[in-house]
Symmetry: C2
Subunit: 255 residues, 2 copies
């Protein structure tokens, strides 16, 4: 049975302060929990409904941590979802290790993206486009915030992240930095190199002047109507699409 202490522990993980202190976070919902259990995260607690147990017996049998069969109401009182008839799990936060970007790969750098929904959507987008390294400024939203994990739709298990001083990181990287601005070069006419860093700015302030200096190429998504800007997660997707499109079509060309 779930002890009062365990309940209290899980509830505390809604707050960043306690996630940091306990070095733990929780994940909720059937899809996110099964993705977590089949990832290399260290999962300590698994709470599930009889319904989830029926559908995921093999996964539960393989699990080594503490398991608790609970009802839907308990899951909903512990987590952040209005409805959760499946599962909730607690796992250890990964250590914040330096991420090296190879000379043939793409990474995404986020300069103070503060909204958890935006960060989660960017993680999902990044996973879709096969970019599995995200470098985040220290003021960016917390990766282990329940809203981030939810919006990522399980993609958080496949993307590697590193919180750091972006100025220092970008200065020491040899890859070209493509920064998203409202007045850069049209991405449709951009000759993207084979690898690089896509730098996206804060929701209201954009890329900070400190980092602007480190941008090799300012890029812009052309506008055909009157909206002032695009949401940062949407803009990230469109840029990733243009980057991948280019190499895809190049690889399809007859020699």
């Amino acid at each position: 049975m779930l002890s009062k202490n365990t309940l209290k522990f899980i509830k505390s993980l809604h707050q960043k302060k306690f996630r940091k202190q306990e070095n733990a976070f929780f994940v909720e919902g059937g899809k996110n929990v099964t993705e977590l259990l089949t990832s290399n995260f260290q999962v300590s607690h698994l709470l599930f409904t009889p319904k989830f147990a029926e559908e995921n017996q093999a996964i539960i049998n393989k699990f080594n941590g503490e398991t608790f069969e609970v009802n839907q109401k308990t899951l909903e009182s512990l987590g952040s979802f209005q409805t959760n008839d499946a599962a909730l799990a607690v796992a250890a936060i990964r250590s914040n290790e330096y991420i090296e970007l190879g000379s043939n790969e793409w990474g995404i750098a986020l300069d103070d993206v503060r909204d958890p929904g935006n960060l989660g959507t960017i993680i999902r987008v990044s996973d879709w486009y096969g970019i599995n390294k995200i470098i985040l400024s220290l003021e960016s939203a917390d990766y282990y915030n329940p809203k981030v994990l939810h919006a990522s739709m399980g993609s958080f298990t496949r993307v590697n992240i590193f919180y750091t001083d972006l100025k220092h990181y970008l200065t020491s990287s040899n890859l070209p930095v493509y920064g998203a601005f409202l007045e850069g070069e049209n991405i449709y006419q951009q000759n993207f190199e084979e690898s690089g860093i896509i730098l996206m700015g804060n929701e209201s302030k954009g890329i900070s002047p400190d980092l602007e200096m480190l941008v090799k190429q300012k890029i812009t998504i052309p506008r055909f109507g009157e909206a002032e800007s695009l949401n940062v997660a949407v803009a990230t997707a469109v840029i990733c699409d243009n980057v991948r499109r280019r190499s895809f079509l190049n690889s399809q060309k007859p020699l």
Copy 2:
């Protein structure tokens, strides 16, 4: 001074039922309100802080409806924003009139997009890409929901909408329907026509079988990684970008 009845009236507009009954909706925040006041919406009430008044005297002077100078606390108690130090306005809902799509233009059709944040983001995306007609199934999120208007970042004033039976609408249209599926033709290799309808499906169920029959071309955003899908607003943006990119680059070609 604001009467109790006016306060009650504005608060009631949080609910769709009352928006429908009163044929009114509210908009909050500086940017959205100024966009509303310079649009052709019929605005009946304008509530603003001294700070907003200072910065927007010309707009306020031109306004013919009821004005109320209030404090920030009042705006926050009436609206849905946690912070609103600017304004809130009430306007009349536009009548749901048939939208005709010309033979040379693009429209977006939404099959039960239920999440208000997604609908708002799609409106902003659509405005960015110069597509100002959105046709919505009757079960889609309500355009006048405060969350939709907020996510649209003022773009709701420039986009025309029509709620209707999509099956009937698409059947009677002569434009080609491009439907977003997970197993369609790669959008990078798609010869989009000069005009058409981009059809996007529900967040979890996708495009319903009823409408699938009316799709001329199933299209897919190529995937380079492992995410199962993309968020519907993100996917709409990537598709619009590919459609516009094609005609942009065609127009740039030497004759």
